[in-house]
Amino acid sequence: MRHILSILLENEAGALSRVVGLFSARGYNIDSLTVSTTEDATLSRMTIVTHGSDDVIEQITKQLNKLIEVVKVIDLNESEHIERELMLIKVRATGKDREEMKRMADIFRGRIIDVTEKTYTLELTGTSDKLNAFIEAVDRTVILETVRTGASGIGRGERILKI
């Protein structure tokens, strides 16, 4: 099953490689990983999307907690949460495709952020599923390039991950 893990860790050189090394050494999956500093410059916040049985997810959580630089780990799946991913997608926009792409962008609440005679670059945010759905919805042959950030997640309501 797909899980989103939120990790608060020390913003130190090498901390990221410890997390990534743990996943590869123990044969866990990383579907996506995003990381950046927080409002507190000494801390990084990481979101890892992974999948595995409950036993595997339990081990992943425990092993992450064991890393000295990891401050806290939560499995966002354990309660209500919000997930967002950003995708930049460059598509061919010529002839009838030009109007069609604009319509599709509107339907998915995307924005056209760069325009040339032959291309549009679109910005879309949403759940990973929504971005997948966009890719499914447009004609594959018009897609020139996609860049995705991987999912970021946060608990709903007053649930927070903080020191």
Binding site: L9, A13, G21, D55, K62, N65, K66, I68, V71
Partner: protein, 586 residues
């Protein structure tokens, strides 16, 4: 006053009360070696290979309550240290390894003797540091010792670039460490402890399974009190030997792949299992599904949450320091007067005694050829069971574990997790330096001993009078045993020809050597080696042993704990007992 980074290293080690540093100099640590030259707070032991430095420091930790320290140079010094670091990591041994690194401006430029030590050691350390800023050097060393010895212990590497060693700075060694992201649990959850006690009180077939965590956590007294006060049967893992006394009648022997029949049968058939600082690893319970085929309730006490529910689901996990958890359990037991039903326990003991009766460690004695088991048994007699024993890896390691009865923790040093051949001699060195008055013997084989034989030179330089008991069967014995059982007697590359004359070799290094070929010579030669005349000397005893001897009992590949291959005298009884297939051995 400002001092150099190298001097800060030396002063920090002094603050930590370090007695010995095991190491080998080289370009990137010359500054530190120069600072060592100018001090006398600790002694440096010059090994002959960096791997041995780490093993010796590891043994120093294993056989004492202190933290061993190794010092190596960058590049090959660092990579040579890795096997030693991984060995300590797999057995959770506290250790601080200081490695030199090329100067910070040269990092990443493929400089001479540059390797990414932090990157290379990452998967086999508890934590590691690259110190780029002189202001963080002392506090990093403080953190390294703290991390190494707290929680589930482990090795910590501190990589120190040469320019940092040269930079001048004020020295201030912190009194305490506060790492917000690292707060190991100490006390167990009281509710869980109460539940564990009531479970134990309801048990009909209780069993205590004690691992290396009880040794590392200094919980032997508590284990003994628990086992004795309730009259329970107890087993130790390979790493736990000595946590419960090996000569005690309530001890049913080591369990696992080469455990006793009674220990494995009790482990398989118990109804309540208390696991103390043990991790249900593959060499202990073999296949998890076969182990859980007989339903049992499991209490698992461990300081590391990730050890719990890793291979086997448990009913009552208790995360905490084993010593503190056991103390609390004992208090609850005392307060409530809870104990297992006496009749059920007596019946359980009758069953265990029936399993014990045929003596699964019995072997055929010979007057012609030396049996390896006999050497270990005689060593036990001759040393009065008091020696610190180290071993290498293979058949001799298992015989040492089976036939030397360890009565106290930290008396038995071996590479249980990583299974590193070549640890025996450097382990003996580290143990002897940590315990100068103890008798230290290394039980080894002719293959393992050659993996760090150069340390005979170190032993000569520092007058380390360890005794080497070489069970020489001219084979990579455990490999040969597996080839006999699982590979149709095809002994691929497991016979070792062209062995050195170990007696002459020992003499060449300035030591004493004996070759022993007759069973009747085993005892007198051991008595001489451990006698007063040779007390100050390293003695290399080369016993030519039976080449065909196998280690029994044995839980083969994919078998359950109750499907052991048994020694010859038990096979007939076993065959009539059931129609099970016992593999190629019958």
């Amino acid at each position: 006053m400002q001092i150099s980074g190298a001097e800060i290293v030396v002063r920090s080690l002094r603050e930590e009360g370090v007695e010995f540093v095991f190491g080998y100099p080289g370009g990137a640590v010359l500054e530190i070696y120069d600072a060592i030259f100018k001090q006398d707070a600790f002694k440096h032991v010059l090994v002959r290979h960096e791997q041995a430095a780490v093993h010796a420091a590891d043994a120093y930790s294993r056989s004492s309550d202190k933290v061993g320290v190794a010092l190596v140079t960058s590049g090959p010094g660092a990579t040579n240290a890795l096997t030693g670091i991984a060995t300590a990591y797999l057995d959770s041994i506290p250790l601080v390894v200081l490695s030199g690194q090329v100067g910070t401006p040269a990092i990443g430029l493929d400089a001479f003797q540059e390797v990414d030590m932090v990157g290379m050691s990452r998967p086999c350390v508890k934590h590691n540091f690259l110190v780029k800023d002189i202001s963080e050097l002392a506090s990093t060393i403080k953190k390294a010792f703290y991390i190494a010895k707290t929680g589930r212990p482990g090795p910590v590497v501190v990589d120190i670039p040469k320019d940092v060693q040269q930079t001048l700075s004020e020295f201030h060694y912190p009194d305490s460490v506060n790492i917000r992201s690292y707060t190991p649990v100490t006390r167990g959850h009281p509710g869980q402890i109460k539940k564990a006690v009531s479970l134990l009180a309801e048990a009909k077939r209780p069993f205590i399974y004690v691992g290396g965590g009880a040794v590392l956590g200094n919980a032997a007294d508590e284990v003994r009190e628990l086992v004795r006060s309730l009259g329970l049967p107890c087993t130790n893992t390979l790493m736990g030997l000595g946590a419960y006394p090996g000569t005690d009648p309530q001890f049913v022997g080591m369990l696992g792949m080469h455990g006793t029949y009674e220990a494995n049968m009790a482990m398989q058939n118990c109804d309540v299992l208390i696991a103390i600082g043990a991790r249900f690893d593959d060499r202990v319970i073999s296949v998890p599904s076969k182990f859980t085929a007989v339903p049992k309730k499991i209490v698992h006490i461990d300081v590391d949450p990730s050890s719990i529910a890793k291979r086997v689901k448990v009913d009552i996990p208790i995360v905490g320091d084993v010593k503190l958890v056991l103390r609390e359990m004992l208090e609850v037991l005392k307060a409530t007067g809870a104990k297992p039903n006496a009749e059920a326990l007596a019946a359980w003991w009758r069953q265990i005694d029936a399993w014990r009766a045929p003596n699964s460690l019995r072997y055929e004695q010979s007057s012609e050829i030396i049996k390896p088991q006999y050497v270990v048994e005689t060593l036990f007699e001759v040393t009065g069971g008091n020696a610190i024993i180290t071993s290498d890896v293979g058949q001799h390691q298992m015989w040492a574990a089976q036939y030397y009865k360890f009565d106290r923790p930290k008396q038995w040093l071996n590479s249980g997790g990583l299974g590193t051949m070549g640890v025996g001699l450097p382990y003996a060195m580290g143990a002897q330096l940590a315990n100068p008055d103890a008798q230290v013997a290394c039980i080894t084989g002719e293959a393992s001993i050659q993996m760090n034989i150069q340390e005979l030179s170190t032993c000569h330089q520092y007058h380390i009078p360890v005794k080497l008991v070489n069970l020489n069967n001219r084979y990579l014995g455990m490999v040969r045993q597996w080839q006999e059982i699982f590979y149709g007697n095809r002994y691929s590359e497991s016979y070792m020809d062209a062995l050195p004359d170990f007696v002459k070799l020992a003499e060449a290094y300035g030591h004493v050597g004996f070759k022993v070929e007759k069973p009747s010579d085993v005892e007198p030669v051991l008595r001489e080696a451990f006698g007063p005349k040779l007390k100050e000397r390293l003695v290399f005893l080369d016993f030519l042993t039976d080449q065909s001897e196998n280690v029994f009992p044995m839980v083969g590949n994919g078998k359950g704990l109750d499907e052991m291959d048994l020694p010859p005298h038990m096979r007939e009884a076993q065959a009539t007992e059931s129609d099970r297939d016992y593999g190629n051995l019958c």
